[in-house]
């Protein structure tokens, strides 16, 4: 079974996750995490989801707990366990992002947004922000290959690897941004800012269920925010 949410549901979900993480009680956060973990069982890419959780999500959560409860001095937040408090916030956001990333692709997301007939500026910004992350990933991968081809020994040790990737950070960000700038010019020439009415060969309109879920999530976030 493939779960496919319209982008507006995903955006509403993200807002809801933020509110839950920042304003919710531990019980809300636990419920939220349980709900999304339940959903993740039905994801098509659930393997990738769990791989990222195992390699990245769970270790970081553990580190957060240890850092706050064992190493750092306690703050006067009134929570029984400060580590768990922070770890839960982190988990809520992470699981929500992972769910979003694994239910949609940038192109699907863009198609869905386009079908909402938002002003062209919005689409432009969304497309470009996808570009930045996409090119960021591609460039890092290509550069790692290029470094190896010029005698950099990747398996020597992990610190060496980190040391070599660090100076890369700025050039990579820089070139990702400059690529997006060029991409912006290309999109402009494709008429994305054109004032005329657009045609839609393929559309992905939100279904009634999508709309209901969105409204539900937005109302919930609103209530959470008001009655925290």
């Amino acid at each position: 079974m493939k779960i496919k949410f319209h982008p507006i549901v995903l955006i509403a979900l993200l807002i809801f996750a933020f509110i839950t993480a920042l304003a919710g009680e531990i019980i809300h956060q636990l419920l939220f995490i349980a709900l999304l973990l339940f959903v993740s069982v039905f994801l098509k890419k659930r393997k990738a989801f769990w791989k990222k959780m195992a390699t990245f999500g769970i270790p970081l959560t553990v580190v957060l707990i240890i850092l706050n409860d064992v190493i750092l001095p306690p703050l006067a937040t009134g929570h029984p366990s400060q580590g768990i408090h922070y770890a839960l916030r982190f988990l809520v956001l992470l699981i929500c992002l992972l769910t979003i990333v694994h239910t949609t692709t940038p192109t699907e997301f863009a198609l869905g947004l386009r079908s909402l007939r938002l002003p062209p500026r919005f689409n432009h910004i969304f497309l470009l922000s996808f570009e930045v992350f996409d090119s960021f990933r591609t460039i890092t991968r290509n550069v790692t290959i290029a470094q190896q081809l010029r005698g950099f020994r990747i398996r020597r040790n992990i610190f060496n690897r980190a040391k070599n990737l660090f100076p890369l950070f700025f050039p990579v960000v820089f070139s990702a941004l400059s690529m997006s700038l060029d991409r912006g010019i290309a999109l402009d020439l494709k008429g994305i800012n054109s004032p005329s009415a657009k045609t839609y060969l393929a559309e992905w309109k939100p279904t009634i269920l999508d709309k209901l879920t969105t409204v539900f999530l937005i109302v919930c976030s609103f209530l959470f925010f008001l009655f925290r």
């Binding site: 290029a146 081809l149 010029r150 820089f174």
Partner: protein
């Protein structure tokens, strides 16, 4: 034993579409080889297999007796300098100088190294050394990737599409560099669909067609063949104008189609012979 040796190599990115089928060839350390073929023939894949970025599905590859793989990559790149097809994928330092020194430093040399100075002079980069590579023109960036590979001073080089998108000054730099490599007794392989360039600077031709090695011959022998043009055409390539015309002149086949033209050429030939 040959320097680069492919024995019955097969490779595919996904299960249903093999890129290479049972390719076998061997190249000596001092040979100058061109690898031609249309898009999707498996040329760049062969390069990635030769250095060990991918492992072959079947068959074996040996570079100077080593089997190339990710763990042995360091040993391979000490022997083969590589410039990939897309310059923006392989430039990552903040100045031209750093970029060219990167490989050298990993191999344990530094800025005073003789090869670095010579490569800078060879490519005329002395003015550009402190520039950011992203400020260079795409054509100069391609030159920089080739220069960075040559600066590593390895015995053999593989360049993927070295002449794509460059103008004459850069082309001349590359020609100069290839010439120097030849003098220094180093080998290289050019992966290119610019046949005119490849034929001028190589002694042996390999042609891939849809993952099969269609031609493997010394260039003079290949050009002597009567149907050389037909063989290239069958593999989706076009014979460059110089060898094509000289073949047609030799066979007199140009006369039938272009009587006017051939008589002019003949006249010029005789007058040029008389002139000196």
């Amino acid at each position: 034993m040959a320097f680069v040796e492919f024995t019955n190599v097969g490779f595919s990115y996904s299960h249903n579409s093999p890129v290479l089928h049972s390719i076998s060839f061997s190249i000596e350390r001092t040979e100058h080889v061109m690898l031609a073929g249309t898009i999707g023939a498996g040329k760049s894949t062969a390069l990635k297999l030769a250095v060990g970025l991918f492992a072959p599905d079947k068959g074996s590859i040996r570079v100077d007796g080593i089997s190339p793989s990710i763990p042995s990559l360091y040993e391979i790149v000490k022997r083969i300098g590589v410039a990939l097809q897309n310059p923006s994928d392989q430039i990552f330092c903040s100045t031209v100088r750093e970029e060219m020194l990167y490989g050298l430093r990993n191999l344990g040399a530094n800025e005073t190294s003789d090869t670095f100075q010579r490569t800078v002079a060879l490519f005329g980069f002395s003015r550009l050394l402190d520039k950011h590579p992203y400020d260079l023109h795409p054509a100069q960036r391609r030159l920089l990737t080739i220069a960075s590979a040559i600066a590593m001073n390895t015995p053999f080089y593989i360049f993927d599409e070295p002449t794509s998108g460059i103008s004459k000054p850069e082309r001349e730099s590359i020609v100069g560099a290839l010439h120097q490599l030849r003098i220094a007794g180093k080998g290289y392989m050019l992966i290119t669909h610019d046949l005119a360039f490849g034929m001028e600077h190589c002694d042996r031709i390999l042609v891939f067609n849809k993952g099969i090695l269609a031609v493997d011959e010394s260039l003079p022998d290949f050009l002597q063949r009567e149907n050389a043009q037909g063989i290239l055409k069958k593999n989706g390539l076009q014979m460059p104008i110089v060898p094509r015309m000289s073949a047609q002149l030799a066979q007199n086949t140009i006369t039938a189609q272009y009587p006017d033209f051939i008589s002019q050429l003949r006249q010029q030939q005789t007058s040029s012979k008389q002139a000196p």
